[in-house]
């Protein structure tokens, strides 16, 4: 590259296309008669990025799924002949299983619980130090 014009052409070939007509060296390197194959990119061959099409909101699908699940639940309640409100109130997910575990483990010596607390949380912090995979989403 001899001149600033050549450098400008390399930086932006489309804006400085007229430079090819004036410079024989650049014409030989980048012109139509040069043997450098132009890169052809097949977009469909590239992997699909997770963010492509992510903003699409198919409301018919969402509404249909919600209504279908609601209808199935209503039909099941009607078939079993129980009151939905009472049954749901009696079967709400609770932390009872965890509560049982906590009550049971409280019978262990406090030293053991303290050691477990330190060990498990140290391991948790050690695991959390790992950076997540840097995928662009």
């Amino acid at each position: 590259m001899k001149t600033p014009d050549c450098e400008r052409y390399i930086e932006d070939p489309e804006a400085n296309a007229s430079h090819l007509a004036a410079c024989a060296e650049c014409r030989a390197l980048f012109g139509a008669e040069s043997n450098v194959p132009s890169p052809k990119i097949d977009l469909n061959a590239l992997p699909l990025a997770p963010w492509e099409g992510a903003q699409h909101r198919p409301w018919p699908l969402v509404t249909g799924a919600a209504l279908a699940i609601f209808a199935i639940a209503a039909a099941l309640f009607a078939a079993s002949g129980v009151s939905p409100a009472d049954t749901l109130a009696a079967n709400m997910p609770t932390l009872s299983r965890l509560q049982s575990l906590v009550l049971l483990m409280r019978q262990a010596p406090i030293v053991v619980v303290g050691v477990l607390f330190i060990v498990v949380n140290t391991v948790l912090i050690a695991l959390l130090r790992r950076a997540p995979k840097g995928l662009d989403v």
Partner: protein, 236 residues
Amino acid sequence: MSRVTRFIVPATMLTAVLALVLTLAPAFAGVADAKAATPASTDQPFLSQLSSFTTIQGAAAAMTKTAVIVSLLFVWIIVAVIVTLFAGREVRYSSVEVRASALYCFALGLVAFTSFVITAIVFSYLVPYIVGVPLLAALGVFAILTKVYGMISIFHAAGSIVAGSRTRSQLERRRWFRGDLAMVIVGLVVLGAIRLIPLVGTIIWSLASVFGIGTALATRFGRRDPAFLAWRPARA
């Protein structure tokens, strides 16, 4: 994976699986059932869930239980749609993370679950000193938020695996099955259908919860913030 992580992951998975098995054992369910015993309780031991189909009363109770599960799926849909609308990018990032490093998320989820339990025990010792009550409440709220966000990420991951587009032309042809919202709904329906299977559904849903807690914490709720940065003085 570093040498420390290679040791930590299998060791913690083993201990945490033991903790999970203990939690799901019938002895604990018996304690829970003594507190709130109903014919269609979702806290029944696994084997009694299977044997309940042999009688008419059992079948009726199973139908009621299915109705409860489907009703909860409806609640899940509402929550999942709201969270995905407000934090779609974060959910997508967590979903990508759990698909990219599933073992890490699973190990982290198990350790986090164990940590929640042991931290709750430690906080319960502080209840007589008043400070334990808000600490326990904060831990409970954090655990529930982690589980809810993580499960929505798992719905997205499952939906992307089942119905995600593989090519651009396939993506452009689709009218409904594209976008974060559709993937979350598809995943929720698929996992919800699996949830209805006795025994297997409970196990798979529990595993999904562990994966969800792991991916929520691994990605810091999809915000990609670094955790526990090492402090170093600036150089001139």
